[in-house]
Amino acid sequence: MLRSAMTWLVGLSLSVAGFAVSAEWGVNMRPGVTEVSKSVFDLHMAIFWICVVIGVIVFGVMFWSMLMHRKSEHSKPATFHENLTVEILWTVIPLVILIVMAVPATKTLIEMYDADESDVDILVTGYQWRWQYKYVGEGVSYFSSLTTPRDEINNISPKNPNYLLEVDNPLVVPIGKKIRFLITSADVIHSWWVPAFAVKKDAIPGFVNESWTRIDEPGIYRGQCTELCGKDHGFMPIVVEAKTQEDYDAWLAEQKEAAAKEAELREKDWTLEELVARGEKVYNSACASCHQPTGEGIPPMFPALKGSDIVLNDVQEHINTVVNGRSGTAMAAFGKQLSEVDAAAVITYERNAWGNDTGEVVSPLDILNFKDGQ
């Protein structure tokens, strides 16, 4: 407690000092990099200026009254209290303004809803707390998780400019093509938002939502999950890398090759050390946010794995829990999220980390046999 108070105080003085020099005082939405995002920006500015004009008139009259019609200036109040003509006027005029505004808004909305005839289809699946991208028909799929180091979050090392907006595997897309996003979720509701594209769509379990974009310029675009999805809602960013068609094709070919290699790994003979080393990485990306890097969890929501009876003894139940999850709890089914190799690695790691010294190896074949036996 005292330590956190101290770091807070130090941070406070540091940030007050840095206050004047840092340049981030952005006050407005940015137009973005797609045709749609630019028309959204125009709508935003149009409605903003309409509000400003109405505000100037209404507040103008108010301030005029407050200055000129205060009792000391204007001691005899008028007695008028109704006028049908002005009531009708200030009902009809706003109505007309709204209709004028509704026309371009409708046009843009219809355009945003037209996801037909896409060139690239990407299935985006939200998980607590990372995104999965699957290139439909290409056999390429991977997870994208936060890479900001814990030390930056805990104020031990300085924060980099992409703090909390950086991932291990960004979504890669080609420019100039109509990209359709099919958005869904495997657990709770998330929302996939990239401001530069003006694309925000909820990822809802049991639903597949559609959205699309066509990006004009290569670049890296960042966004975040925008629907409260539990503990690490603030820690599941989105990074999109838009490449030229050639670069994209090369990248895709590389991914396909890597996927083929990954499949071969299943047949390999794994040693305990190899599995533990691989498992630690998997654990940190998929498990640690709930069960904690120390394996101690946050009971009762997220039980400890360190010293757990299942982890120490019951291999089959351990595999079952990882592969199928626990219904009615926050434990998700990782059977489809993790490859057999990764599942075997993480289970082996859990059975051999933090003093869980079982010395047992769970091989990819064990996982495969378990899945076949179901």
Binding site: S4, T7, W8, S15, F19, S22, E24, W25, S39, V40, L43, I47, C51, M62, S65, M66, H69, R70, K71, H74, S75, K76, P77, A78, E82, V86, E87, W90, L98, A102, A105, L109, I110, Y113, I153, N155, K159, P161, L165, V188, I189, S191, A198, V199, K200, I204, P205, G206, F207, Q224, T226, E227, L228, G230, K231, H233, G234, I298, T329, A330
Partner: protein
Amino acid sequence: MSAVIDHHHADHAHGPAKGLMRWVLTTNHKDIGSMYLWFSFIMFLAGGSMAMVIRAELFQPGLQLVQPEFFNQMTTTHGLIMVFGAVMPAFVGLANWMIPLMVGAPDMALPRMNNFSFWLLPMAFGLLLSTLFMEGGGPNFGWTFYAPLSTTYAPPSVTFFIFAIHLAGISSIMGAINIIATILNLRAPGMTLMKMPLFVWTWLITAFLLIAVMPVLAGVVTMMLMDIHFGTSFFNAAGGGDPVMFQHIFWFFGHPEVYIMILPAFGAVSQIIPTFSRKPLFGYTSMVYATAAIAFLSFIVWAHHMFTVGIPITGELFFMYATMLIAVPTGVKVFNWVSTMFRGALTFETPMLFAIAFVILFTIGGFSGLMLAIAPADFQYHDTYFVVAHFHYVLVPGAIFGIFASAYYWLPKWTGHMYDETLGKTHFWMSFIGMNLAFFPMHFVGLAGMPRRIPDYNIMFANFNMVSSIGAFMFGATQLLFLFIVIKCIKGGPKAAANPWEGAEGLEWTVPSPAPYHTFTTPPEVK
């Protein structure tokens, strides 16, 4: 002859009982009104403390004071307590105190039910707050508690949360029934509906909204209860349920709910602005119709909270148009208030300062509301700090300033003393500056892309978050001054006349200050 008998009867009227049991057993509308107001103020401080925790954590990027799981409990309980524990009971308290005095009734129509509906509230919120100390923590799924985060993935304490909502809901429904019964049956002879003070009108309409939507809320939490404990799958997609249905039901309650929190403030401000402008309210009839129109529209706009869930384009367009329409009756109200001030003889006592700030800042909240109504633009605003800025602009200088204005306006009637005007004005200016510092920068960080409900953020949002936090601390601390002012006013101060305000009109100003324990035992005649 009959006059003599009346007089004799009045001599034997009961005063308040002595001791603690007075408050437990009371059926007196003034006692119950006071209890509602005190309760809501305690909740305001509790919910406010949670806001302070939130703002302290967001003072700078990085995790400093609290962990994300606790942060989520703070945002959730802050919202729940402010909505159901602070704002709603404060308005019911004002209704209890003022509606009988304003319509010339001796008490509320259903005094025993009145007592019961109050005493449910401490139970409800005791239950809700106790969840924070339970294993697994309190509700952490946002005040909108979207399933399945609030069902399959909720902490075990969610059951207590559900029952707390049930109790608060029952209390609200009974309060609403009581208010409707009082207004429709106990008006003094001669007080036709179109002669009622606007505060009474707005509360009558609010009460109907409450009766319409609180059962819907009860329904949705009951479905959650079934999903959690009895194996149903209303909101569980894996069992054939529909998580989006949760949102439809919730917002069918939730949108009228936001008008429940603002309409009584409209009414109070419509009493206060004419008083201190020394000029009758402009467009009384159109004010009544505008309130009714807003209430009607509030039932057909709920899905504007759900523009990003993927409803079909026709639905999206319908809800966009309907939402934009709300600007029309709301505009009418603002124009009427401004016209009331125009060519009046204005003075700026504390209630008037709060009322004017209400009109200006609520209008700013209305503008951002209009921006949010534009569905394509909403894709950029939705669930960012822009929304947080929007609803705090309509709720803090809207509902809360409306309550402060009412409190200062009627304190002389309640206590028999004038409050300290200098302190009152200090309270106003500190609140005004603090609130704008806290919430205006949220528009900026929202537009720059900061999502809501996150405990940590990128460094590009750091500057404005710090400004927000400073403003929030200022606003929060200032409310202790309000407590001091009220206690000082109860304890003493210059004697208040029956009508302490030069321009005030209405039956409540015809009874002495402080209002006697029993008023209007003989109904007054309204011409």
